[in-house]
Subunit: 209 residues, 2 copies
DNA sequence: ATGTCAATGACATGTTCATGTGGTTTTTAG
DNA sequence: CTAAAAACCACATGAACATGTCATTGACAT
């Protein structure tokens, strides 16, 4: 029988209590700790020999250090713990920040307790659960973020130049790489700048990265 | 009562038949079409006045044009259709390619028919469903892909400078933006170069983008 | 055939950058 | 309190870059 040790970091007592009860009522889970802030959670985790935590449900809106700020601290102390963000905020910025900082899942607080516990076991088994609306934001970001409209109007040769710039090469290096004169590189870049309406290498690179 | 019109593109007859039955047995759904390849699906979609499709379940391993290649074609004809990839492949490359090309969800074929149909309604309502293992790969990619080990050793002020560089600003512009002398900007950048072991603006920008 | 356009190249001028070697003043940590 | 770290500033030099104008070639379309 698996025993998933779950930690809670949530300042709202009402929610914390119901989560606590829910964890204790789930056969596969047991409560490792319940804290009201990242600071006190870190205390619990370091003070004495700790039994271990598999999953931490972490709120974002916490007094003191925010959940977002807390992620690296927790992961530093417990590199193997899986963090599930449990929050009312669903703006793309926060979602991405949490996930890039190492959270495994991001769940809306509106989600039913049952689904939250399902997410816990899912994450414990090496998966990840996303609320549909969160998942959609992720997906939209992927499909929307990859567009590079201006770039389409560059010729093949111009793209060669851009690739060189993107790799941090100097004009001279691009010239020798493409076996052309440095003045030709200049000519190309002048045209590229006009097409893309920019006036520095970095802006060009930014445009297609 | 909502009526979600579902299209199928799947060459394996066995799977296609069971999906077809499943769609027809779901009250909220009806079958818009069932094709064995992207090519024939596109035919169906363009030949005559078509009733409309809300969701397309799209296989990747198709004869002729692959599902991946098919995504842009389908979206070109039906910009508002939501595409759900339904596939046995779960490598990160394919997942990302599908999602960046505009697929809304990516589901393993091992998933039960019930969950697949749940995903259809979820997507129809503006969400996105990911198999836990797929979601995990996405998340891992985010947290793994965004690592910038060298950058951590930069001070706040140095980060201000880096942000300026990343936005394509010149030293002069950074200086006025931060209300410091251009020589101070130079000093900072010299240190940044040493810390990051690079020697051009572009390499710095590349490092944290 | 003729004109447009991409690719090539040269020359010139002023600007910005990379890099060095000095400093001073805050902040921060021991 | 003191030493180190971070932030601030100045001056100097050669390299790289941004930008302009002009010219040649070959491909492709009208």
């Amino acid at each position: 029988m698996e025993d998933i040790r779950v930690g809670l970091v949530e300042d709202n007592m009402t929610i914390r209590t119901s989560l606590k009860q829910c964890v204790e009522m789930t056969p596969a889970c047991s409560l490792a700790f319940a804290a009201g802030s990242v600071e006190s959670a870190l205390d619990v985790l370091s003070d004495f020999e700790f039994a271990g935590v598999d999953i931490i449900l972490l709120d974002i809106g916490l007094p003191g250090m925010s959940g977002l700020e807390g992620i690296p601290h927790i992961r530093h102390k417990l590199p193997d713990v899986d963090i599930i963000m449990l929050t009312t905020y669903d703006d793309t910025e926060r979602i991405f920040e949490a996930l890039t900082k190492g959270a495994r899942s991001y769940i809306s607080k509106k989600t039913s307790l049952k689904v939250i516990m399902d997410a816990v076991t899912t994450v414990y088994r090496g998966g990840s659960y996303m609320s549909p609306s969160i998942a959609r934001k992720l997906v939209d970001h992927l499909s929307g973020g990859k567009k590079k409209p201006n770039l389409k109007s560059l010729s093949d040769r111009q793209m060669d130049i851009v690739r060189g710039l993107a790799n941090g090469l100097s004009y001279k290096m691009i010239a020798s790489q493409l076996n052309i004169s440095i003045d030709t590189v200049r000519s190309h870049i002048k045209k590229i700048y006009k097409i893309l309406e920019v006036n520095s290498k970095i802006e060009v690179v930014n445009m297609f990265k």
